[in-house]
């Protein structure tokens, strides 16, 4: 009888030790992230969304790895989310040896994710926009086209010289079994948990990467909805979401997909209506507060 008791204890322990790491692993896969979202109802038929961004004020010579900059939107069928999400983005490489990147340069980072996969389903292949010091700002946009059968990620890079280059990258959802035909925006709820279908924010490059010496401005954000037309985020309230509260979608069995997933320690922000500047602040170890108002 005693032997049976120990057997049950051992079996229970083995079961837990086998199962829990697979759950905890997802949490450990998280990256530092701090972002914002609009406070509004849900928009189910978003055909494009955009954001203007600038890395001015960053010091890549004092950055060991990289800082990423995303406008993210859940994919949807027009009536519901579907577990996929889209990220129109770019990143600034530091000069450190931690990551093998393009030192001091800004690179494209447009991505599409199925939230149940470990890794991005699609990336744009990587394009070098040039040195951060030569770039004034970047307009990042994602657009449904060809009767909503294709998404084009568009990055218009404006240089300090006055010239600009417009890059286009095409993603075809049917090639990846992605059922999406629209983006989504707004704040919804699932199982009492808030989900932010359109987010703008910054992300470290790997788990625990509280990257120092960066500053990223995000402004002129908005989207087009089939019914509502053009919606500028400056016309709505916006709050911070980060860490384990940055849900952007959920899957068919109720799992939530997050952006980032870790609190971005040493992050800070200044904001006014429609504009936020995220930045590193070594005197703010706890980072920006989750849920605080941006505008």
């Amino acid at each position: 009888m005693i032997a049976d008791k120990y057997k049950l204890v051992i079996v229970g322990a083995l079961l837990v030790l086998g199962v829990v790491p697979s759950i905890a692993g997802a949490a450990f896969a998280a990256n530092p992230y701090v972002g914002g979202h609009q406070v509004s109802g849900v928009y189910y038929k978003v055909t494009d969304y955009w954001m203007n961004t600038s890395y001015a004020g960053s010091n890549p010579s004092q950055m060991p790895c990289a800082i990423q900059n995303f406008a993210s939107s859940a994919g949807g069928t027009g009536t519901d989310r579907d577990g996929w999400f889209y990220q129109a983005g770019s990143l600034l490489w530091g000069n450190g040896s931690t990551c093998a990147g393009l030192s001091g340069d800004i690179q494209s980072a447009n991505q599409v994710w199925n939230m149940d996969n470990c890794c991005a389903s699609w990336t744009d292949g990587g394009v070098n926009f040039g040195s951060a010091s030569s770039i004034s700002h970047i307009n990042q946009e994602a657009v449904w086209q060809n009767s909503n059968s294709q998404v084009e990620f568009e990055d218009q890079v404006t240089y300090t010289s006055g010239s600009s280059t417009l890059y286009g990258f095409q993603y075809t959802p049917s090639s990846y079994s992605d059922p999406s035909t629209y983006f989504m925006a707004g704040t919804g709820t699932h199982s009492t948990i808030s989900v932010y279908f359109l987010q703008f924010g910054v992300e470290g490059f790997y788990s625990g990467d509280y990257e120092p010496n960066w500053q990223i401005a995000q402004n002129t954000m908005g989207f087009t909805d089939v019914s509502a037309g053009t919606v500028n985020l400056s016309s709505l309230h916006a709050n911070v979401d980060e860490g384990d509260n940055s849900q952007i979608t959920w899957d068919s069995i109720g799992n939530f997909g997050n952006i980032g997933g870790q609190i971005f320690d040493y992050s800070d922000e200044t904001s006014s209506t429609g504009t936020v500047t995220w930045k590193y602040n070594q005197n703010n170890p706890g980072g920006v507060l989750d849920g605080q108002s941006l505008w």
Partner: protein
């Protein structure tokens, strides 16, 4: 199992769950926190997390900065190396000169002259105004398709031709020419290494 056995089972499991919850920082075991790292920095392999920061593909342009005069063509070797990362065995195909990508350069005056929507319309237009240049149309490659196996390195030549019709406004300026490429299947991490050529255009 009878009720007593279930109670013993539960008494062994619950404290362990609680202990592990404290260790991992998890507050509950609801299906939440399916967090996504960006740029594919992490990968799940056999139930454990493998963290790596570098792409499996290292792309290296042989010349990172050069000068090309109007009407001339320059040859630049591009090396692709497929590093062995996480014991990957699948081949990766590199498509060069792919039509799915676009890069259109606008002169300073064109940047302010055209609206954002007008510029975006040029992405699908075969006729560009004289103050806009389709940069990828100026590139060609010695091969348009490569297939790489893990551990393999291959070099192709990229040719950049600067036409005589190059906008006057952009003479003497530095232009970033990216290697127009696409990976099949797509990489979860962008390729590392010098992936573009900075070209100063001269008369």
């Amino acid at each position: 199992m009878n009720k007593k056995s279930i109670a013993i089972f539960a008494s062994s499991v619950v404290p362990i769950i609680f202990l592990l919850a404290l260790v991992t920082g998890a507050t509950s075991f609801e299906s939440k926190g399916n967090s996504m790292g960006a740029n594919g920095v992490v990968n799940v392999k056999n139930g454990t997390i493998v963290t790596y920061l570098n792409s499996p593909i290292v792309m290296k342009v042989g010349i990172e900065k050069t000068t090309i005069s109007l009407g001339n063509t320059t040859e630049i070797p591009i090396t692709f190396t497929y590093d062995k990362v996480n014991d990957q065995t699948r081949p990766i195909t590199v498509l060069l000169g792919d039509k799915a990508n676009q890069a259109i350069l606008f002169t300073p005056s064109a940047t302010t002259k055209y609206t954002q929507k007008e510029k975006q319309a040029f992405l699908t237009s075969s006729n560009l105004p004289s103050d806009a240049v389709n940069l990828y149309s100026l590139e060609s490659f010695s091969k348009n398709t490569l297939t790489l196996m893990p551990g393999q390195t291959t070099t192709v030549d990229m040719f950049i031709h600067i036409p005589n019709s190059w906008p006057q406004e952009m003479i003497g300026q530095s232009i970033i020419f990216n290697v127009n490429h696409r990976f099949v299947p797509p990489l979860s991490i962008q390729p590392s290494g010098p992936i573009s050529v900075e070209v100063v255009i001269t008369k």
